[in-house]
């Protein structure tokens, strides 16, 4: 089943070499070398991944490539290897990570090449690629967790890349701390699995091995699944732990594209898909995943409608789209979730890169109220972003249509009618806010600051080429997963099926399936998307004054959306403040100062006092010491005399 394929090591080796080179020689060798080496490492990894993928395609369905590097942990009967597995699921992920990653690295040459700390930036980027590849290639949960933490670290480092800005550094810490909460859940999930498996004498966390012990896992599936999903909500920015992602947008835009849109934030989806055998055992866990996903999707989509900051809109959009993916995997359509993950990687990274291009052109301006009319000066960016906008809005034949449609269809088929309704509404909202973004940025009159208006320009080729390539992907990338019955049908789903089969969850599904045909469902979603676009057109192109009027009339609603439902404030009040209070008053003043310091100081004082008393014994006269010694000898000898006399 698993074929040994040592070339898998190359996929990891190239980014690692890039890291080492950039850390130790980057700043010394100069920009040109680093600008060549860093993307080259990822391109080579992409090439290796392509080779591996080609090999995989040449093998029967459900086969996998494996590579055991060396034993890692041998504790008692536990035995973990540094071992990798390249199957259909991880193959798709690896291709996305290295492919999109390579393009973003290339783009970064233009975007970040002039930054002072270019070597550090590319070292982080390569390190991120390395960690992400470990995450997706790992063949056991523990090694996956290593990658999981590694990408978290890189995310933190890159958000706070410009660490001399206090706010950026704060946002980096926020991301890190929020992720800690989720990771705690992840660790607990792992421990739950270990304890369940170990108590049955199974001393492994390898995915394929675990999948063979369903009856052992069944009792803990809900608990472990929920805990692991808590980790996923942290990493993938789902309710309730999504709050870090919008703030993470302070990082360099390629970082937002690569980490906070295309790859890292989808790690939770990948994890759920990877552990599909576990989630399949618990409909409660599945329901939690699906519900959280759907709620997150519509929740963040509503916020995205009013945000003025171009990258924040995209951030909330990302959260929303990952909510879609979660909805997909939550209703058992793992392949659809991964499919959407892939197409999302294309169009969202394209959107970010396009936004980056705009920001770059406007010298760091991110507020859409100070943009407009850029389609003439930046035609390539405008066209590619338009493609991406159509894709995310679900307009056929762009990629997003097929993946989103697959998820909605599966949701409907699984019987979660309400979730389906939420998804469809979200699709309309998505189209609205996305075209709001496009119209505000590229259409209408220019609202650019006078000082910046002069040097607005199209980005250099090194940045536009990745845009074009990604736009092509957005256009045709979805065609590998056509609805059943059209041309080659759902090739992607069939490819993934052996690894993560679609689940038939409830009997109700069969009931629901009859009521509306897939074509009708698609038509409803399409219709909503088109109306969303039309609404955006009417709001922002035809009558530019309308939104402001509406905002005034619906002031409370508008403000609530603008302030993101006051979630940050609520968290601040409910979590942060009490925590600070607890830390400051109870833990610091009470526990630390009084009890711990008191114990420590008290110990010292006690020792000092007793020493003060006892030092009178130390007369400095050796004969006094000898006398004490004699007393001891007398006591010991006396004991033996007692023993002798007792017998």
């Amino acid at each position: 089943m698993t074929h040994d394929f040592p070339a898998l090591g190359l996929i990891l080796l190239f980014p690692l070499l890039g890291v080492i080179f950039n850390i130790f020689f980057g700043q010394r060798c100069g920009r040109r070398v680093v600008n060549f080496i860093a993307p080259a490492a990822i391109f080579l990894a992409f090439a290796a991944a392509l080779a591996a993928f080609a090999t995989l395609l040449g093998m029967p369905r459900g086969a996998a490539l494996g590579f055991d590097l060396w034993p890692w942990i041998e504790a008692g009967r536990f035995h973990f290897d540094i071992a990798f597995r390249f199957d259909a699921l991880s193959g798709v992920m690896v291709l996305v990570v290295t492919g999109v990653g390579a393009l973003i690295h290339l783009y970064s040459d233009g975007y970040m090449g002039e930054d002072e700390d270019y070597a550090r930036f590319f070292a982080y980027m390569n390190l991120f690629a390395f960690a992400m590849l470990i995450l997706v290639l790992a063949n056991n949960l523990l090694l996956m967790f290593v990658g999981w933490e590694g990408v978290g670290l890189c995310s933190y480092l890159l958000i706070a890349f410009w660490y001399d800005n206090a706010e950026f550094a704060y946002n980096g810490r926020k991301a890190f701390i929020v992720n800690r909460v989720g990771d705690a859940g992840f660790v607990l999930g792992i421990l739950t699995l270990i304890s369940a498996l170990a108590s049955s004498g199974i001393w492994t966390l390898t995915f394929t091995e675990m999948a063979k012990h369903r009856e052992t896992l069944a009792p803990v599936a809900t608990l472990a699944g929920s805990l692991l999903f808590l980790g996923a909500t942290g990493k993938s920015a789902q309710i309730p732990l999504y709050v870090w992602l919008p703030d993470a947008m302070v990082g360099p835009t390629p970082v937002s594209a690569l980490i906070h849109a295309a790859t890292m934030v989808t790690a939770g989806v990948y994890m759920v898909a990877r552990l599909n055998f576990l989630y399949a055992l618990s409909s409660q866990a599945m329901t939690i995943v699906a519900t959280v996903g759907a709620v997150t999707a519509i929740f963040s989509a509503t916020i995205a409608i009013v945000q003025p900051d171009i990258k924040r809109v995209l951030a909330y959009s990302t959260i929303s789209q990952i909510g879609y993916m979660m909805l997909g995997v939550g209703v058992g359509a793992f392949a659809s979730g991964i499919f959407h993950l892939m197409t999302h990687a294309f169009f969202k990274s394209l959107l970010f890169l396009g936004a980056g291009s705009v920001i770059h052109a406007l010298d760091g301006e991110q507020d859409m109220n100070h943009m407009g009319g850029l389609k003439r000066t930046m035609p390539v960016t405008w066209v590619t972003m338009l493609v991406a906008g159509l894709a995310i809005s679900g307009i056929p034949p762009f990629a997003g249509f097929f993946s989103k449609d697959a998820i909605l269809a599966s949701t409907y088929a699984s019987g979660h009618i309400w979730l389906w309704a939420v998804g469809v509404v979200t699709a309309g909202l998505t189209a609205f806010y996305m075209f709001r973004l496009l119209f505000l940025t590229f259409h209408g009159a220019s609202r650019i600051d006078a000082s910046k208006r002069g040097h607005v320009h199209e980005s250099p080729a090194v940045m536009t080429v990745p845009l074009v390539i990604l736009a092509l992907c957005c256009l045709i990338g979805g065609w590998i997963g056509l609805p059943d019955g059209i041309l080659w049908g759902d090739a992607f789903g069939r490819f993934l099926m052996p690894i993560c089969p679609t689940l038939k969850l409830t009997p109700a599904a069969t009931l629901a399936r009859g009521s509306l045909s897939p074509a009708v469902l698609s038509a409803i979603a399409f219709g909503l998307a088109v109306s969303g676009i039309a609404l955006a057109w009417s709001f922002y192109v035809m009558t530019p004054g309308l939104p402001a009027r509406l905002a005034r009339n619906l002031s409370p609603l508008y403000r609530m959306l603008l302030r993101k439902y006051y979630i940050d404030e609520i968290y601040n009040t409910l979590v942060s403040r009490p925590l600070f209070w607890l830390s400051q008053v109870v833990l610091f003043r009470g526990v630390d100062s009084a009890i711990i310091d008191g114990a420590v100081d008290g110990t010292g004082l006690g020792v000092e006092a007793s020493g003060e008393g006892l030092r009178r014994i130390a007369t400095g006269n050796v004969q006094h010491y000898a006398l004490a010694y004699l007393a001891g000898v007398l006591a010991i000898a006396g004991y033996y005399v007692y023993l002798v006399h007792r017998h």
Binding site: Q623, H624, L634, A637, Y640, V644
Partner: protein, 205 residues
């Protein structure tokens, strides 16, 4: 060893041991100790440990005691009074007596010691001693040589006169009693040690 000889040697040993601790003049103490060590050496011979007995005399009496004698002379030690802590003496006497009593009780009442054993008299010819020393105890023997080397180096290092430093003449006149720091004291000591001639003051002085 006959009982009479034993009692003679034992009484002599006890008396000389008391002489070590009871005499005022260190030289007399040393002489008493030498007698005691000789006496015990003879006892070793009487117990069949001929080689060790003679080694004891050669090393202890012939070398270590002479070393003591040298040091006594070098430091020009005089007879000392028996002042000092009375309590220490009292407790010391009681403790020592108790110790002797306890050990004697143990030795006399422990059956394995007090009953004359099978006593296979493999006596200490120098051949058997050497054979054991250079087989079973070889490592210990070699370590002992290291220990001796270390002791030689250490003794030389400790007793070496610190090199006379410049500015000595200033400190030379200062009285030892008024010297404030040990270092200062050592300076004036090393000078006055040059000047003073060791003169024995015997007990009658």
């Amino acid at each position: 060893m006959s009982l009479g000889l034993f009692f003679f040697l034992a009484v002599l040993a006890a008396l000389s041991a008391l002489g070590v601790i009871a005499q005022r003049n260190p030289v007399h103490c040393l002489l008493a100790l030498a007698v005691n060590l000789l006496d015990i050496g003879v006892m070793f011979v009487g117990l069949g440990a001929v080689t060790v007995g003679f080694l004891q005399i050669i090393i202890y009496v012939g070398a270590i005691m002479v070393l003591f004698l040298f040091v006594i002379w070098l430091l020009n030690l005089q007879a000392e009074g028996f002042s000092g802590y009375l309590g220490l003496k009292l407790f010391g006497a009681i403790g020592a007596a108790a110790l002797a009593a306890e050990f004697a009780t143990l030795f006399l009442h422990t059956s394995r010691i007090s009953t004359p054993g099978a006593s296979a008299l493999t006596q200490g010819t120098i051949t058997t001693l050497g054979r054991h020393l250079f087989s079973d105890y070889l490592v210990a023997f070699e370590i002992t040589s290291l220990l001796l080397l270390a002791a030689v180096v250490g003794a030389i290092g400790l007793a070496r006169r610190p090199p006379l430093s410049a500015g000595l003449s200033a400190a030379a006149g200062s009285d030892l009693a008024t010297a404030e720091s040990p270092r200062q004291m050592s300076r004036s000591m090393s000078v006055s040690a040059e000047q003073q001639t060791t003169t024995p003051r015997a007990g009658s002085a």
